[in-house]
Symmetry: C2
Subunit: 437 residues, 2 copies
């Protein structure tokens, strides 16, 4: 079926291992898991958004209801934010705020499938939500989570680009640019289309030539880390409140991220990050791999003023990020950035003759009790075939007690990685395996 | 939304922890993960089954396609077996056989919601598939996996009930009972409805009074472990090939399960297990909790002759089991069999004054680097409120460096479980936390 990522088992081992790392880092920062139903009421999903998204949702109906001519009242979630909003509104009085939640579940988009665009993909989100007010200090926690995740995943050096929508909008106001949404959308394309193209687009959307050039010059130049970021912020002429507030917030966030343990080289200010079509109101984030900028942002998010305005009267501001992991996995695989296949099975216990079955099963049971992932062979075969099976499946260790070894109370232990083998006294087997696995 | 299990965060921590245990045990036996798309082509899902299931599937269609008047060509999977069949057929030449796979994903049933019956629930499956023939010895591996899983989950003692469809059908033949499907379906109700009701139903479906009574007497009596099982099997008059083969298979399986490390008290023969409506052909399994038989089978499965006959010419016999985990979790929670709520957060780092923010963040970062799940407080508040938050959220440890502690280079460490607290020299903090968490 096109438009979905279906993996072979060893690829799935790698995929699941990375998702487990992401989950572990989310938990390390105290985020709690939630899981919402795959289907939400159609009215919940359509309430939040309009236009494009409406055409992209998957409507669901039981075959019985379809036969009865009823209209579909369920649909598959297209992100994890709308379900979070519904969840927080529904369970508000049983949750503790500030509420740090993570959610790792597939989302669905009814778009035409194309390379790296999936109809179903796994999304990994964290958000902090509070009631009433959410301190700007949380905006500095989010880069620490991003840093921990991508440090653990080990795809190479990366940089977290931070900006602020208030700052950007204040800047547009300062330059007398009225068409703000269009301008933000154009800015988002700066790294792909280049300065001149964006200036031209801005002008054709009604911005004066001078303002267009000034804007592109001001926000261009990529990411600035450390003192360079602070000096850049000091250069602004703070001629409106929005710009003043945006600059102050950005300074506070940039000043605090380091205290969370993020190395200075891994975060900075990038005034061209706009996340134009999203509902962010303050801080925004994008993250790029230093050696693979062409992959675009591998983790994005930001601050929003009110999560669930249409479901509850409480004001619920939040800040969070999202990793579209299926796409990222596919990109990394295509760029050959993934480590080589590794099996979750550590040991294959072989079987050379039927008389050895009980001993073979006992060996495997002992290894499992010692915490070693062990696959049993239950049909006797030649050692060559069994080694070939282990090799083809990237299983590193092969253990067998043939008639000779059983006679001597020994076991043969072969390491397929180092292509070495040894004979081990039967009572030492578990220790010998644990020493090399 | 009715018919789905949506948990509060700490319930989700418990749920996810148990799923992680199941996954770990599956991997311990060398099963490899696969994940198939939530949606399959409707023709794939409807190909396999007919009747009841057809009315229970959820049809899916993008909102764009619905507007265009197209027919839905996608549907949500209703089990993990049909997707496994499609997966194995599709990737057959890139898989290694015997193929041990596990799969932990939600499945969907478009039925009217009722207590403990979900429209979406998490299913945890393992199967071994081979090409051509699959040795009966694998039928003895499956109880070992069940044993490891429920041993790890710790819901109390359990027994794995093993039977064989060939044996049962041979028995029906032996007694001259023709209406086999109906008879198997009735036998499945033996523990719920009792002997007399089942005898009456059998008679009304055309079985002679003598045969009905003989059958119920033969298969009744519950589970028999160890030698009692073997003696029972020796009593049968082997007057047809099916019965002969069924008895031989059952003896081989029962004789081998112990070698896999399963205690003798935890598995046995129960001739009343029929799994009447399923497609099993040989060994069948059910598992019940000793102290909660009213929960019914918490893990069921069996052997089938051909997994994917409609998708490939290869004959792919298999054996496996399935745990309907959402329902089990709900049952255990209702029966108050779940351990008390436990937070994945080990430490809450408090904040009493704004001047302490940097030190507080540094403490948290150190704890995280040491592998401790740590939640930061970023807005200063009274110690009482912060302790109340930790208590309400089942966080065991609270750490804070107020002005006095910072002056003395110390940290206050409070254990909310033991209601004790101590002052720890700042450099010893990580060791002190690790000693009690």
């Amino acid at each position: 079926m096109p438009g979905v990522l279906e993996l072979l088992p060893l690829e799935q081992v790698a995929f699941d291992g990375m998702v487990a790392m992401i989950r572990r880092e989310f938990e390390r920062f105290g985020y709690l898991p939630i899981a919402t139903p795959t289907m939400e009421l159609t009215e919940v999903l359509l309430g939040k958004t309009g236009g494009d998204t409406e055409r992209q949702i998957y409507l669901v109906q039981s075959s019985g209801a379809a036969d009865a001519g009823e209209d579909p009242d369920l649909a598959l979630r297209f992100d994890l934010t709308v379900p979070l909003a519904r969840y927080v509104a529904e369970h508000e009085h049983r949750l503790s705020f500030p509420f740090r939640r993570y959610q790792i579940q597939p989302v669905f988009r009814g778009e035409r499938p194309q390379k790296g665009r999936y109809r179903e993909f796994l999304q990994c989100d964290v958000d902090v939500i509070d009631r009433g007010e959410l301190s700007i200090r949380y905006d500095a926690e989010i880069p620490a989570v991003i840093n921990a995740v991508f440090d653990a995943l080990g795809f190479g050096e990366f940089v977290i680009r931070i900006n602020n929508r208030r700052l950007l909008t204040g800047l547009l106001r300062s330059l007398g640019i009225g068409a703000q949404v269009e301008a933000l959308r154009e800015l988002d394309k700066l790294d792909k289309r280049g300065d001149e193209a964006v200036v031209a687009s801005l002008i054709s959307s009604g911005v004066s030539t001078g303002s267009a050039r000034a804007l592109v010059e001001m926000v261009g130049g990529g990411v600035r880390t450390g003192d360079a970021a602070m000096s850049l912020l000091d250069e602004f002429r703070l001629d409106n409140d929005l710009l003043r507030q945006g600059v102050a917030e950005t300074k506070e966030v940039l000043g605090l991220v380091g205290e969370w343990g993020v190395p200075a080289s891994r975060f900075g200010l990038d005034l061209a990050i706009a996340r134009g079509l999203d509902y962010y109101t303050g801080t925004v984030y994008e993250t790029t791999l230093m050696s693979h900028p062409e992959l675009g942002s591998i983790c994005s998010g930001g601050r929003y003023d009110d999560l669930a305005g249409q479901y509850t009267k409480s004001k619920l501001p939040g800040v969070g990020i999202s990793i579209g992991f299926s796409r990222l996995f596919w990109q990394l695989e295509s760029a050959q950035l993934l480590p080589s296949a590794h099996n979750s099975v550590a040991v294959l216990v072989g079987l050379l003759d039927d008389d050895g079955l009980e001993e073979s099963l006992r060996i495997a049971a002992e290894l499992r009790r010692a915490g070693v992932n062990t696959q049993s062979t239950v049909v006797a075969d030649k050692i060559g075939s069994q080694l070939k099976y282990a090799d083809r499946n990237a299983i590193d260790l092969y253990v067998v007690a043939g008639p000779v070894e059983r006679e001597r109370n020994e076991v043969l232990l072969r390491n397929l990685r180092t292509k070495s083998q040894e004979t081990v006294p039967r009572p030492h087997l578990v220790a010998a395996v644990k020493a090399v696995s």
